[in-house]
Point group: C2
Chain length 221, copies 2
């Protein structure tokens, strides 16, 4: 199975969520590509292509077996495995992430949380004591951790990322508001959350411009 494109992963996540909700409500246990597409405002062909790409087949006149599709998506995206992670940064965001129980459904298990602040070290987070970042490298190596969640302030994030990658981390889920530089082969996902905000502020601003009858901008195409 080739690596899926970003948009395909996003759509598969949408199918997964929709089907998990739908599962209990459907007597037949099956769903058509049309039903999925209608619920997520997509084209039915798109749905069939996405499912076909991860090896899921439907049946003519019947559709797709819901459990089979859910299972197939979970296998394709790796939700059927346990992904041990270290969480670095035990501020508000780190606490919010570690307290969200929904991630377990995707196989995520936070093995330990780290922080540099001596006041935070030793405090409890998710039933475990927060460790000092000094021990980060040793912990990652000893437990063979591959995934790190970075919820540190921007200033220290690159330094922590360097430490993580030198310890052998393979994937970083980056919540710090900056672009990390990492060695080839390390996968970074930047959770640049302000982008979502900017879409909404842009929308509100644009709406005002239209309402106030402002002339269209330089590119009305």
């Amino acid at each position: 199975m080739p690596t899926l494109r970003r948009l395909a992963v996003e759509r598969l996540m949408g199918y997964h969520r929709f089907l998990a909700e739908t599962r209990g409500r459907v007597v037949s246990g099956t769903v058509t590509s049309d039903e999925i597409a209608a619920a997520l405002d997509l084209d039915a062909t798109q749905v069939r292509k996405d499912l076909g790409a991860i090896g899921i087949r439907g049946r003519g006149r019947i559709g797709y077996d819901i459990d089979h599709v859910i299972g197939g998506i979970r296998t394709a995206l790796g939700f059927d495995r346990t992904h041990l992670a270290v969480l670095v940064g035990a501020g508000h965001l780190g606490r919010a992430l570690s307290s969200y129980r929904g991630f377990a459904r995707y196989g995520l298990r936070i093995a330990a949380a780290f922080d540099t602040d001596p006041d935070k070290v030793g405090q409890s987070l998710g039933g475990q004591a927060i460790r000092h970042t000094r021990g980060l490298r040793g912990f990652v190596r000893h437990h063979g951790i591959r995934l790190a969640i970075l919820a540190t302030p921007a200033e220290v994030s690159q330094k922590i990322a360097d430490r993580l990658t030198s310890a052998g981390i393979e994937a970083i889920w980056n919540f710090a508001p900056l672009r990390l530089t990492v060695p080839q082969g390390v996968c970074v996902h930047n959770e640049h959350i302000s982008v979502g905000l900017s879409e909404l502020t842009h929308h509100l601003t644009e709406r005002d411009r239209v309402r106030s009858g402002a002339r269209p901008g330089p590119h009305p195409s």
Copy 2:
């Protein structure tokens, strides 16, 4: 200026961040599309197109004035205005969002926080007392709030969203893990954070498959 596509907004945010960092480091005060493109791993034509689309012009042989570009992006995305928002849900995530000072740079100001839990109501959040959601509608109407940040548990989110839209909210930044149904004309941005996680778990899983020499999947294209 026509409404920008999602990807264009995301790129503009990238330019904005890069230029804000670069500003102090560049003596000339200018930057070329090539430099921006190299830093963000994009095509220089893409950069020129994006900037042209929001009415920003450069100069041959010189490039773009950094301050002018930053200002243009801020105007286009609405960062030069104040966007008053209500925050609903004062759990870990709500606290994390309200404590992040970086949003102010994009014009966001959280006017008040709300929760349903009587234990939380009255507690302090960002220097203000958390209010009961009973008062949500009145507050939104009285202050003409247009934007809501939804950080509530999935079960109650649709109900809260209904209340918000009936009070006249125009945009919802939704952190609850479900798809909201809203009246036409209300703009929702779903911050489906697990998508980022799934990209990483998929990547790790796929890497293992390749390493273990698993035969390629059904669509090796």
